[in-house]
Amino acid sequence: MIEVNVSKRLHTAEGPMDLVFSGTIEEGEFTTLFGPSGAGKTTLLRMVAGLTTPDSGTIVVDGQPWFDSARRINLSPRRRSIGMVFQDYALFPNLTVAENIGLALPKQQRSAIVSELLEVAGLQELAGRKPDKLSGGQRQRVALARALALKPTILLLDEPLSALDLQMRLKLQDELQRLHQRYQPTTLLVSHDLSEVFRLSRRVFVLDKGKVTRSGSPTEVFSQSKISNKFRFNGEVVHIKPSGVVYIVHVLVGQDIVQVIASEREMTTLKVGKRVLIASKAFNPLIMPLDE
């Protein structure tokens, strides 16, 4: 379990901003920090990693203090059991894929763990390549495999998919989910992509201007109505076609397109690109926009 209670004054383009965060993350849980850019998400992640020092507070992981301003404890990143995927991956350009993944490992375990991770991440063919010969998606996989190599207690992901196109993003979201299930690290993801939040995480903290505005499960946080439903999916409106007196709304749910009929009245809240919740009570599906 990670207990984070930190504050830090940040100097942003709009003047000073106080980042205040207080929350706990259960072991093995996949949690997202969601919010607009400049909200302090990455800074918070860097504080957990030990790359940025909070002004005050505590970070306690499984009962062990990693940071405690009152007791002057501040563990260096080298001594924290973390794996981090940076936004631009930060792969070592002079090393091959296999060397990048294995660099931190002790010699006697290196080849076994590296070959396992290469296989799990589907990188066997690329083991001998340098990072500059890889595509964005491949680099992302290498960065993830490298972060998992030491079997860290906490996996920190700083918008790892933001540089990729939609299709690759969806594919890697699945992969991330698979890897999380396999290795079960406590995971903290920074994201400003709502579909990522829904697809990957069990809990979400919404940050805005340095403060947590909402937290809970993604559905609790992002849908205003708490109706009991038979089934519910989150998706994105990709196309709207008028058909007589109703409209056919095409919604991207995961990688599938679902067609839902919407009335003129419902159409007033819908447009292409809008995030929606599709839910069904017994027979008729309901379609409603999600808060962002």
Partner: protein, 226 residues
């Protein structure tokens, strides 16, 4: 070939080679510190390192001469305890050259360290890789052009130095007479033919070394692009 000429040229390149190796060994930790520290004394150290760029070489040479003279406590200590005399000796011109060429090694290395994205060091830290291992496996291999530039500039600058060596070393054949001093010495003696020979060789070698650096650096740049 004139044995004096050969001896002087060999000595010149020995001094330059040894100076460059010493500078590389000293320069890596010093430039690492300068590139990444936020210590307040950084500005003072940077100033001291850059001083030889603007200071007349004779000033540096004069102070070294005074300091290392056996009648000075420092020079006396070195001589009585380490049996090392740094005035008018080979060791002396090495020390002088190292100090005088220091900025030519430190500046390229420091900008090399500075050009490496901070997140590579951070990534290494999150992976628990020690600073020393990070230096040798990640930082230095990614700043080869800077290392090359530092070595070549230090070497070429040492080959061409005059003032410091003349002040500290004098003009002892086979001991402290470097090519640039030999040129001066020959011109004084109106032996223009020998002076020409020294001058031409220095000119050609310096040109070749710098040309090599530019070609190699272009190849590095191209490698990074592809």
């Amino acid at each position: 070939m004139n044995p004096d000429f050969t001896q002087t040229m060999i000595l010149t390149f020995q001094v330059a080679g040894i100076t460059t190796i010493i500078l590389l060994v000293l320069g890596i930790p010093l430039s690492y510190w300068l590139a990444y520290t936020s210590n307040r004394s950084k500005a003072i150290v940077e100033t001291l390192v850059s001083m030889p760029l603007v200071l007349p070489p004779t000033v540096l040479g004069f102070y070294l001469l005074v300091f290392f003279s056996p009648v000075n406590p420092v020079g006396g200590f070195l001589e009585s305890w380490l049996n090392l005399r740094l005035v008018f000796s080979f060791e002396g011109i090495i020390v002088g050259s190292v100090l005088f060429s220091l900025p030519f090694m430190i500046h390229p290395l420091q900008s090399g360290f500075g050009a490496i994205p901070a997140n590579l060091r951070e990534a290494a830290a999150t992976l628990g890789i020690s600073r020393v291992k990070t230096l040798f496996t990640i930082l230095l291999p990614n700043m080869k052009p800077g290392i090359l530039a530092g070595c070549v500039l230090s070497f070429a600058h040492t080959v061409g130095e005059f003032g410091v060596v003349l002040m500290v070393g004098g003009n002892i054949p086979g001991q402290t007479r470097m090519a640039s001093i030999a040129i001066y010495d020959r011109v004084e003696a109106l032996d223009y033919a020998t002076a020409h020979r020294y001058a031409l060789v220095l000119f050609a070698i310096t040109f070749a070394i710098l040309l090599l650096v530019y070609i190699v650096n272009r190849r590095f740049a191209r490698m990074e692009l592809t």
